[in-house]
Structures are given as structure tokens and as C-alpha cells.
Symmetry: C2
Subunit: 197 residues, 2 copies
């Protein structure tokens, strides 16, 4: 998606081979009109997928997910990061461990907000190794619902997230795919480039 | 604001004298069209305040803040909850301790995203004792900027947040003011009711 690629070229900062900072318009300061445009693009892309709900993982995915939900005219659900298991029967939980970040949490969804008929579109800001998205897929599977598509703002295509999600049978659409990062260097891949191992 | 009061009457669940659950349209599942309407109301209310940025605190305030920013046509900034101090010179931080929740974190703002000329509108979902909003006021003060107004979805008017913020010289507009909660009971206050001690 040209609009996002252009903005990343202009304002993104590649610090090294893995870190891309987009603090000025996505993660910390957020350009609301721009998010609206990204949400409209996701809604357009997934309009024939029979989406009933948009899911996201707190907190950087909330802004684009909200705009996508608005344009699809469906509710958004925020999957919560809990530090510990909730010992009641009214939630689905699954553990997410990020080895790169050294963090671990229980991704949590109240059962009220999903049903087996749901066709979910998962929206997130970044896709790297795909731990969080894979976990969201597990939660949705626990509920007997369908993860009908995954929409990502920025995919680090040199990491294994897309391959992992595609191998699990999920469809991924990324608005910007980064083929290579280095200090001061950002290279994009075309939308239809194959997933790397 | 009648729209929010009606929705709270319909879907809100008062569990006891302090806890009101609004998980089905604000906190966990989010009604995007409804958030758009709340954001439009905030933008209308604060249109003559010379607002240059909308701030919020992650993560439940992000949805209404994003919609408010869109309608005011200004950027949104998400104040981050860090577990520890960042030992670089490029951030403002202030400690927030919630005695009711038993939590403590460093509210964090990168200096790039605020300047002394900024007139900030702070948007948050709940106002109870006002710890987080008071802390945001301190951060904005550290930057030499102005906290020109505070917009709250749901104010627990029986707690001391509004009084504390007004005593600090801040203007507060709440879309719904709760005068009393009890199991199964939700009572509202009019918009112009005085703050309680």
C-alpha cells in the first residue's frame, strides 16, 4: 500500500537490522486521519470475507483496528494482555512468550464476545515472528470461531511471522512489507512476494 | 450526554458500590460507530479551546481519543505505562500509584511529541480518584505546555477525581457522571452538578 510505504520512507527510522521506529505516526503519536485511511484500506481489502468482528491486541493495534471496524460496520474486540491466569470459567486464555522481547503474558478474551459463527479479522501494527497473531489464532480456535484474515500495517518480511501464519492456514495481508532493514536503510517488498522461511 | 447515559443504562453492569462494567461497548468489545459519536461530541465541546493535540493514557482511552483527534483534526499522543524509569534524557516521566488497584507505573512521554506552545486535551475512559489524569497534568507541565481541558467518558462523581483536578486548575467535561452505584443500581448526576469532596 503506497500511502503507508511513503509515510515510512519519510518518517520511519531504521535503527539497525531489526528495529524500525514509527513513533511519530503509529506507536506513540498517532495520525488519526492517516489511521482512518489505513482502516478504509483494510475494510476494502476484506469486504468479501464475511467479517463479523475485528480483533486486535492491546495496545498499538487499537487505532487501526478501530478505524477498520468502523468502515466494516462491525464491533472491535481488544484482546487483553494479563500478567496471570484468570481462574474463572468465563474467559479464554493462551500464553504468549516473546523470546526477542523477553516478555510473557496471558492473551485474554471474555467468552461473551465471541461465538462459533464469528468470522474474525485480526488487525495488528507489526508482524515479526508472529507469536501474538498465532496466539490470537489459538484463542479464536478455542471458541470454535474462524480467523478469516489477518491485516498487518508493517510486516518484517525477513522474519518468520508470515510463513508461520500461512503454514497454519491463515491469510495475511500486510500494507507494507519490509524486505531489509539496516541503520538508515529501509527496503520494501512487493505485496505478492512469497513468504521467507 | 444522553447518548452515553442511555447506553450505560442499557448495557452497563453495576457490580457493587464502586465497580461499573462497560465491557460490551467501551473496554473490551468496542462499538466503533459509538466511539465516533463520542469523539464528535468531545470535538464539538472543546472546539474553541485552541487544542493542538489530544493525549490519552494507554489503553482504554485510545479509542475515544483517536475519534476526538480525528474530528479536531489534530494528532493523538498515547502516554505509555512503563514499568521502570527510562534513563535517557529524551523522555518525561512521572510515577503514578493507584492505591485502589495496587499498581504503580511510570507515565512516559517522548519529548519530541510536545512543545511549550501545545494546548492539550486529555481524553480518558474513566475518572475516579484522578491519579492518572493528575499525573498527565504533571507531565504536560514539565514540558511547559498547557493542559487546556480534560474529557472523560464516565466520571465516578462519588470519588474525588473531579475535585482534585478542578483544585489543580483544570477544566473537566464528563459525558456521563455517576452519582451513585450499588449492585444493579446506576444513578446519574446532571452535567453541571458541583464536584463532591
Amino acid at each position: 500500500m503506497k500511502l503507508l510505504e511513503e509515510r515510512i520512507r519519510k518518517e520511519g527510522k531504521a535503527l539497525n537490522e531489526t528495529v524500525l521506529k514509527v513513533d511519530s505516526f503509529i506507536n506513540h503519536q498517532v495520525d488519526a486521519e492517516f489511521m482512518d485511511a489505513l482502516g478504509r484500506d483494510f475494510a476494502e481489502h476484506f469486504k468479501d470475507y464475511g467479517i463479523t468482528k475485528v480483533f486486535t491486541i492491546e495496545s498499538s493495534g487499537i487505532a487501526p483496528a478501530l478505524m477498520t471496524a468502523k468502515h466494516l460496520d462491525v464491533p472491535m474486540v481488544i484482546l487483553k494482555k494479563q500478567t496471570s491466569k484468570i481462574l474463572q470459567g468465563d474467559v479464554y486464555q493462551t500464553n504468549i512468550t516473546s523470546f526477542t522481547k523477553g516478555t510473557s503474558y496471558e492473551l485474554t478474551l471474555y467468552k461473551n464476545y465471541i461465538s462459533p459463527e464469528d468470522r474474525i479479522l485480526l488487525i495488528d501494527d507489526f508482524l515479526a515472528n508472529g507469536e501474538a497473531a498465532t496466539g490470537a489464532g489459538r484463542l479464536i480456535g478455542q471458541a470454535g470461531a474462524t480467523l478469516a484474515g489477518i491485516g498487518i500495517l508493517i510486516e518484517k518480511s525477513f522474519q518468520r511471522g508470515r510463513k508461520r501464519l500461512e503454514d497454519a492456514g491463515f491469510y495475511v495481508y500486510s500494507q507494507a512489507r519490509i524486505g531489509r532493514l539496516a541503520e538508515g536503510v529501509i527496503e520494501f517488498l512487493p505485496e505478492d512476494a512469497p513468504a521467507t522461511e
